[in-house]
Structure formats: structure tokens, C-alpha cells
């Protein structure tokens, strides 16, 4: 049984740890947003990152999107058993659920595992093998060089991936719904077009930008402050994914509460 004083001490320690990490994270970001030494080098690095993040994630995002749409359509149809509800509602719910929630949130959670862990382990390895020290000795602003290209590439390419996944989800829902016979093609398309409100797309994109920013900066933070060897690089990578996922879920709620 934890005594009251021990519990208070534990809470105080947690608060100090939280403030310590928050302060270090803010300072890291502050030092990153400076004028690049050479725009050409940063530009090339940004395109390379776009390729790694965008093209590299296309496969997994497509698979997830198609199945998310398919499952949403079939399960919605299963739950809507009343004859009073028109079948178009299945298409409408599939559309709103995938665009507003599943495409940004679930896809970003998966991308945290793929891109976030990749960033943290890449930068962590650079740290423990003295590559970051080598950059620093050359006079490169290491935080800027390691964060800015990744952040710009992510903020540009990942929202495109998310919009693409929204379309694929709708197609997945169409294929699963019509093939299983729970809804006719006309009813599904009718549902997709029913009462379309562009606000949900805007909110979904706001969510995406917030999630991308958090995922990339949190992953860089954990990689950049890795101390030790291979074991610590693994730990940093795991921490990056765990914290990114938690923050994505918290911000998912906050954005929904603020904008809907």
C-alpha cells in the first residue's frame, strides 16, 4: 500500500519529469527553426524524406484504408437492422467515420509505428555512432538539419496519403458492401453523396497536420537525446512510438472537441 506522502512524492517527481521533457522538447524545436545553412542541401534532404515517408508508406496505407472502409461498411450494415432506416445511411456512416476518424487517426497510429520508429532509430543511431557530433563539428545546426526536412516532408506528403486513404476507404466500403449484398451500389453511392458537409474533411485535415507534427517532432526528440548504444536506440524507438500514439489519441479528442 502506497502511503499518502509517497504518493505525493511520486506525483511531484512525475510532474518534474514532465516539465523537464516538455522544456527540452520546446528548446529542441526552438533551435530547429532557424535559417538553413544551405537551402539546396535542405531541399534535397526534404525530397529524399518525402520519398521515404510517402512512397514508402503507400502500400501499408492502401491496405489499411481498403480494409477499414470494408469493415466499417459491413459492421454498420450489421448494426442497422431497422427497416425504418434507409440503406443509404450505411454509405453515409461509412463516409463520415472513415473521413473524420479512421483515415486520420488509425492511419497515423500505424504510420507512427512505421515512420516514427524509423526516425527515432535513425537519429538515435546517428547520435550513438557520433554522426551528429560530426555534423556539429562541421558547423551544421544539427537540430535544424535533422528536424526541418523531415517535418516539411511529412507535413506535405502525409496529408496527401491520408486523403488518398479516404478515397480508398470509400472504395473498400463499396466493394465489401456490394459484394456481400448488404447494400446496393446505388444505395451506397447515394449515401456517400447524402448531406455532404465539407467541415468533416477540414477537421480531418486539421487532425492530420497536428498528428504529423507531433509524430515527427516527438520521434526526433527521442532519437536526438539517445544516450548509450544499440539497446538505448531500441528503447528510444519504442518510446517514440508509444508517446506519439498517446499524443495522437489525446489530440484526436481535443481537435474533435474544439472543431465539431
Amino acid at each position: 500500500m502506497i502511503s499518502r506522502s509517497n504518493l505525493l512524492l511520486l506525483l511531484l517527481l512525475l510532474e518534474i519529469m514532465f516539465l523537464y521533457h516538455l522544456g527540452r522538447y520546446v528548446l529542441l524545436l526552438k533551435s530547429a527553426f532557424t535559417k538553413p545553412e544551405k537551402f539546396d542541401v535542405y531541399w534535397k534532404e526534404t525530397f529524399r524524406e518525402m520519398n521515404v515517408m510517402g512512397v514508402g508508406s503507400l502500400g501499408i496505407v492502401s491496405i489499411i484504408a481498403v480494409f477499414l472502409g470494408a469493415v466499417t461498411c459491413v459492421q454498420t450494415a450489421y448494426q442497422l437492422v431497422s427497416n425504418l432506416i434507409p440503406r443509404e445511411v450505411i454509405g453515409q456512416i461509412t463516409r463520415d467515420s472513415t473521413i473524420l476518424e479512421f483515415s486520420p487517426s488509425i492511419t497515423m497510429l500505424v504510420l507512427s509505428g512505421r515512420i516514427g520508429s524509423n526516425i527515432a532509430s535513425q537519429i538515435g543511431t546517428m547520435r550513438v555512432t557520433e554522426q551528429i557530433d560530426a555534423l556539429e563539428i562541421m558547423g551544421v545546426n544539427t537540430t535544424g538539419f535533422l528536424i526541418l526536412p523531415k517535418l516539411i516532408a511529412g507535413l506535405f506528403i502525409i496529408p496527401m496519403l491520408i486523403v488518398f486513404s479516404m478515397f480508398l476507404s470509400l472504395i473498400g466500403g463499396y466493394v465489401a458492401g456490394t459484394l456481400s449484398g448488404v447494400i446496393s451500389p446505388q444505395e451506397y453511392v447515394g449515401g456517400i453523396l447524402l448531406d455532404w458537409n465539407p467541415t468533416i474533411l477540414i477537421v480531418a485535415l486539421i487532425k492530420t497536420y497536428v498528428f504529423v507534427f507531433l509524430m515527427i517532432t516527438v520521434s526526433v526528440y527521442h532519437g536526438y537525446y539517445t544516450v548509450g548504444g544499440a539497446l538505448e536506440v531500441g528503447r528510444s524507438s519504442t518510446k517514440a512510438v508509444v508517446y506519439s500514439c498517446i499524443l495522437i489519441l489525446c489530440c484526436d479528442y481535443l481537435v474533435a472537441q474544439l472543431f465539431l
Partner: protein, 247 residues
Amino acid sequence: MIELKNIYKSFDTKSVLEDVSVNFQPGHTNLIIGGSGSGKTTLLKCMVGLHEVNSGQILYSGEDFCGLNFKERIPIRKEIGMLFQSSALFDSMTVEENLLFPLNMFSEMSFSEKSDRVDFCLKRVNLDNVRKLAPSELSGGMKKRVGIARAIAMQPKYLFCDEPNSGLDPKTSIVIDNLIKEITEEYNITTVVNTHDMNSVMEIGDFIIFLHEGKKWWEGTNEEIRHTDNKELNEFVYASKFMRMHL
């Protein structure tokens, strides 16, 4: 010229360097020797700005490096080349891209000039046909040589080498030592090498300082080291049977 004045450095409560003052000889190979934990690497990292000193001055041609902020340090940093213990080559880049990186970042050379410079540096370290290889495809000795080539790409005035022989066989160690010595003399660079390899000390050390328990215990030439009566230095120098037989 590199001058250290009363350098103190501690990590939390643990003191690592105490009152270290040295005048490194310009245009020569200067060696920092000492046992493990004596503060060699910390001193080298303080000199290149990877660690901040608690007090003291690090003077590059009279300018105090410690008193400068990140931006003000850049001109001095452009004059510094460093070979790391692990070579620290960027593993996401090829050998050519590793050498091009500082040139792309800080020089105004044209593409052909940069390419010529990469060629020149690789030839200088006796490496051909490795331009397109990844660092993971190179042997330990080749990595060190590419590290040296990258360090001299920007034509530095100062070259720092952190344990250049660690993890290398004796023959390759001699190759790396000779390369460092030759480059120092050819380009009139002030080189500071951090080592505990006595073979390097005897072969390339023009000026040597011995660190013990974070303090500068002794300084002199590689001739003087043979005849010193400094107890701790003698224990270090004559720790190996080979050295006892040959000195």
C-alpha cells in the same frame, strides 16, 4: 595555434579535467596520451566544442572559442577537421556523398570543382573506386581513411583525431599513423591526436602531453618520453612488455 588555459571540466560532481594548460605546436602532430578515464576524449571534445568547459580558455589563433556562441563558432569550425573513433561516416550516404557533404554545405565551389576535390582527397588517402560504396561496405581501415579524407575536404587548419587506431590491426594502424603524419606535414596542419597506442607515440608524436587523473602530468617530445623519471608516465609507457624490450 591552439592554446588551452586552465581548463576545468566536470560532469555533475565528478571532476574530469583540472587546470589543464597546453600550447599545442602549430604545424606538428601533437598527441594526448593517458590511460582510460584520464580525460583524453573529454579534453578533445571540449576543444572542438562538443562539451562546454566549466572554466578556462581554448584559444584558436588567439580567439577564445569558449566565449563564442554557435554562430560565432562557425568560422573556426570550418577550419577544423575531425576523425572520430568510430569514423562517424553518414551511413545513409555513399563515400562520395560523405565527402561532398561539407563542400555542399559550406563551400561555393562548382560541381566539377567539388568532384575534383573529392577525387583528390580520396587519392590522397590511397582509396580508389570506393566513391559509390556505402560506409557499411568498407573495412575498418578504409572507413578511417574515408574519415580522414572527409576531415581534410575543407582544407582545415586544425585536425583532431580521436583514437585513430582503435579496432585496427597493427599494420593498418601504421598506415593510418603515417597518413596523419604526412597530411600534417604536407598541408602544415596543427594536428591533435588522442591515443593510448605507444607505437603511435613513438612514430608520429612531435609533442606529447600525458594526462593522469584529469591533470596534465607531463609534456615533452617522443625522445624525452624515453628518459623521463615521471613515475606515472613510466608506468603507462612501460606497461607493455614490447615497450620494455624496445625502449
